[in-house]
């Protein structure tokens, strides 16, 4: 199963429409999605506006693959669960976010294991067509020791 999430704050019609197009051609793959305020209603997979913590966790757990906007929360969750995550950034120039930080995030995450970035429609569709070749990467549940130590040192100061 693929779990698609675009977060809950903003619509992301372009991504949902693209996945719907792909799902139409790939009926054997089950897709489930949290699409927030997205206007476009997918016809080829099941979706909902908002999943609460428990339902979200359950969908995430069931999924073999995650597709998401470039939200760090989703990306971190996917890596912590060792699930491959396909990331498609929102573009502020297309009215999909307030600024271009998702594009910036993606440029920085290029090459990160377990994280597959697509900037263009065709790139995304190619990744999806080769889904079984994507591998997850298990990361630690916690921040780097360097950061943990720096914060501990600061708190400990009198």
């Amino acid at each position: 199963m693929i779990f698609l999430t675009v977060g809950t704050q903003l619509p992301f019609d372009r991504l949902v429409r693209l996945i719907d197009r792909w799902a139409e051609r790939n009926p054997q793959v089950k897709v489930f999605a949290q699409i927030g305020d997205t206007d476009y209603q997918p016809r080829h997979f099941e979706s909902c506006t908002f999943l609460d913590g428990e339902a979200y966790a359950s969908a995430f757990k069931k999924a073999e693959f995650i597709i998401a906007h470039a939200g760090m929360g989703t990306i971190l969750s996917a890596l912590m669960a060792a699930k491959p995550v396909v990331v498609f950034p929102r573009v502020a120039a297309l009215g999909e976010h307030r600024n271009e930080h998702q594009l910036a995030t993606c440029r920085k995450l290029e090459g990160l294991k377990g994280c597959y970035i697509a900037y263009e429609d065709e790139q995304l569709l190619t990744l999806l067509d080769n889904l079984q070749g994507l591998e997850g990467e298990q990361i630690s549940p916690y921040a780097s020791d360097q950061l943990i130590d720096a914060i501990d040192n600061f708190i400990r100061q009198p």
Partner: protein, 146 residues
């Protein structure tokens, strides 16, 4: 020595997930977690209202909730990964004598977040998660949540 009291604040979603990646250090202290999304599996949690720049009355309510919470907990340290609740918590904390840490979200790779820029004069430890954003007069880089 008395265990230090920490107020750890983040809004729902990515900010909160990043804050929880600091759990090993936060759990060494008497930490109260604060968010606008319910959080389980922590010893002390307080829920605040969900507010952002789009709604001024809600921001005011959030500010008052955080002020009351601060007066009740009296934290030694306030730490946040963003956004609006963390900004307010640091402003209140700094004005009322706590030491403060701002860890700007890892999502801000090319410029600091709006709240991250505005919080500067209220943050004793002002951190970015990207080396490229470090400048001589701050923010500093001391590692990242990933």
């Amino acid at each position: 020595m008395k265990t230090k009291k920490v107020l750890a604040v983040a809004s729902k979603g990515g900010h909160l997930i990043q804050l929880m990646r600091l759990k090993p250090v936060l759990d060494r202290y008497d930490t109260t977690y604060v968010s606008n999304q319910k959080l389980s599996a922590v010893p002390a949690f307080v829920k605040v209202t969900d507010a952002n720049l789009d709604s001024k009355p809600r921001l005011l309510l959030l500010f008052l909730q955080l002020l009351m919470l601060h007066l009740r907990v009296r934290p030694d340290v306030v730490i946040s990964t963003g956004a609006a609740p963390g900004f307010f918590a640091l402003v209140i904390g700094k004005c009322l004598g706590s030491r403060t840490i701002w860890l700007d979200s890892i999502a801000n790779a090319e410029e600091l977040s709006l709240s991250g820029r505005k919080v500067r004069r209220y943050a004793d430890l002002w951190l970015t998660q990207w080396q490229d954003l470090v400048t001589e007069d701050g923010p500093e880089f001391k590692g990242r949540v990933l």
